[in-house]
Symmetry: C2
Subunit: 358 residues, 2 copies
């Protein structure tokens, strides 16, 4: 049980006098609050500059954009790497959290900011789960919602993949039953393996073939050894190694576990539509054709439930070979469709129109 929590957040743009232009952006598993500006802690660039900024689909000249680091995260919000009241690091004694807990913390922030209604909530992957949870939990306080490459429940395959990652972390002797920070260690090798396994699921087979195929890494022929002969190996190792510099292994355990536990249908008598019944929120659901982590079929299940609940719902299926991570990459059709939905929602909300840019 957490007595109090700190939630780190960033904002862009200005809140309108009527506080009716608030956009909530929910980040994915390994994302953070630095949506549209560089992360001063890690030095990494903003993760969604294509989507958020002046004149962008989420136009910070019009909207007041708020992004938190999720509860359980490691970029300033309370999480397993935080110090508890007795002065020690939480570690694996941190209480388990759910997507609903993450959203509860975000709603508390909005309440503190004196915002009654959010204009728009959007996010991809576990960010999309939070968006769905927002609409249910902050009942009719969300005008429009964009869940991207997401699902109403974590699938067995995804539980399986994240369980592989957790086992890799917990198998690392430096994990120390979660108490590694107190002992000045880090389960970097296990966390890197977890990241490598997960990363494969974020990219389509076709994209891996296009980007890497069987090309060799800085060599003319295979080395007959366990070094990274192939570019795909080198790429995955780099993904793993760079990840450990910026992420806490226990946060990875707790956030993936929260994803496993996400099942909006189970929370509503086993019927997903029941979660959404009576909502005035307008939804635009996005999926990517080559996404096998959160499949188009899972988005369509969500759309069917929204339709059954009588919600105003659009569904956009983007044809791409970029897989799950497409929402983070250059996808002009995706950006155009988000822009269209956002502008129409803003008009329906009575917000001023997008300013023409020279």
């Amino acid at each position: 049980m957490l007595d109090s929590v700190e939630i780190a957040y960033e904002t862009w743009g200005e809140m309108s006098p009527r506080k009716d232009n608030v956009v909530i952006i929910c980040h994915a598993l390994t994302g953070d609050q630095f949506v549209a500006s560089d992360n001063p802690i890690t030095g990494r660039p903003a993760w969604w500059p294509r989507m958020v900024g002046p004149g962008k689909p989420i136009d910070t000249d019009r909207f007041f954009v708020v992004a938190t680091n999720v509860l359980g995260g490691c970029m300033g919000s309370t999480g397993p790497a935080s110090i508890r009241s007795n002065g020690s690091v939480w570690g694996a004694e941190f209480p388990h959290i759910t997507i609903a807990d993450m959203v509860r913390a975000q709603i508390a922030l909005i309440d503190q900011l004196g915002v009654e209604d959010v204009f728009l909530a959007l996010g991809g992957s576990i960010g999309g789960m939070q968006v769905l949870q927002w609409t249910v939990q902050a009942r009719n306080r969300v005008f429009a919602a964009i869940p991207i490459a997401s699902a109403g429940r974590q699938s067995a395959q995804n539980i399986g993949f994240y369980e592989v990652g957790r086992q890799a972390i917990m198998a690392d002797p430096n994990w120390r039953e979660g108490a590694y920070l107190a002992e000045g260690r880090r389960p970097d090798r296990g966390l890197a393996v977890a990241r490598m396994a997960a990363h494969i699921t974020y990219v389509s087979e076709a994209a891996l073939k296009r980007k890497f195929d069987r090309r060799l890494q800085d060599r003319q022929s295979v080395g007959f050894g366990f070094d990274a002969d192939f570019q795909i190996e080198s790429y995955l190792r780099h993904q793993g190694q760079s990840f450990v510099d910026r992420f806490d292994a226990n946060s990875y355990l707790y956030i993936t576990r929260a994803m496993d536990y996400f099942d909006l249908a189970a929370d509503h008598g086993g019927v997903l539509a029941n979660a959404f019944r009576g909502l005035s929120t307008r939804f635009c659901v996005f999926s990517f054709s080559s996404d096998w982590h959160y499949t188009p079929e899972e988005s369509r299940d969500l759309v069917r439930a929204l339709n059954a609940a009588g919600c105003e719902t659009s569904y956009v299926s983007i044809e791409t070979d970029k897989g799950h991570d497409a929402f983070l990459l250059e996808e002009p059709d995706f950006e155009a469709a988000v822009t269209g939905f956002v502008d129409a929602a803003a008009e329906a909300r009575g917000l001023p129109p997008r300013m023409p840019r020279s």
Copy 2:
């Protein structure tokens, strides 16, 4: 460099006087030579009793069936767990091997048995790679070939998945740079993680949903912890833990690396069809609709190459939700199609017909 190798093998049925009824079965990554009889070393049951035995599609009343443990394996054939001439265990100083090396050892066995021509070679997954290699390497000494759920080259995605597994093994401090057996240790936790990651790829998402979905393991509600709350977690953990009792981690490293290096096209000027040009072997290629480890598309690439080479080629696509492992499971259409192809090939070869069974 290996001075000499031992190859463990099993046989079923009787060699005909003309030695024209020999069937070679090539096992998959974690399989062994105990195709149709129980493994006396591990106590595990035969892995392909549905396909091989009296009256079965590969009828041991008609055929002399030979199955080896692959070179590099850990079930009796020379591999990294073997003792080298200086009295120490090979470990990670074992030379790297290729699919061609595995097949070379199998051809040497056939030569020793005085067999000029093999009637049929068949196998799934890496076994299918060996089947393809057999047809190319034992040129026109293979009358018929059945590569199942396989490919002419390892894909980037598969290299990636096996690289995750290798990294998990090599991250285990008990791996000891490969010298664990000499030190009386075993990298069991790393090997278990490798097996878990691989196992997910052997099963389709639909089958995981059908078999497990989000059902809980021996509990009424989630435990909010890192125990195996979900059946899928418990299942994968069991797959990992039972695997380490029967498999050598270094064998896993070497065999997966041999798979990575497999690229029949690259061996033949970059054109897969060149590998097969002029072969008199008749082929029947099988794929399974929900197999995302070795996809139907990869089998079709293979079929196109065989067609371009002018080989006598059939292609059977089995509709199933069982994924890559379908060839090991109950698939009546698969068994019927194999039976039909084998019987027709036997007739063309002039072998006696299948005996009617009461």
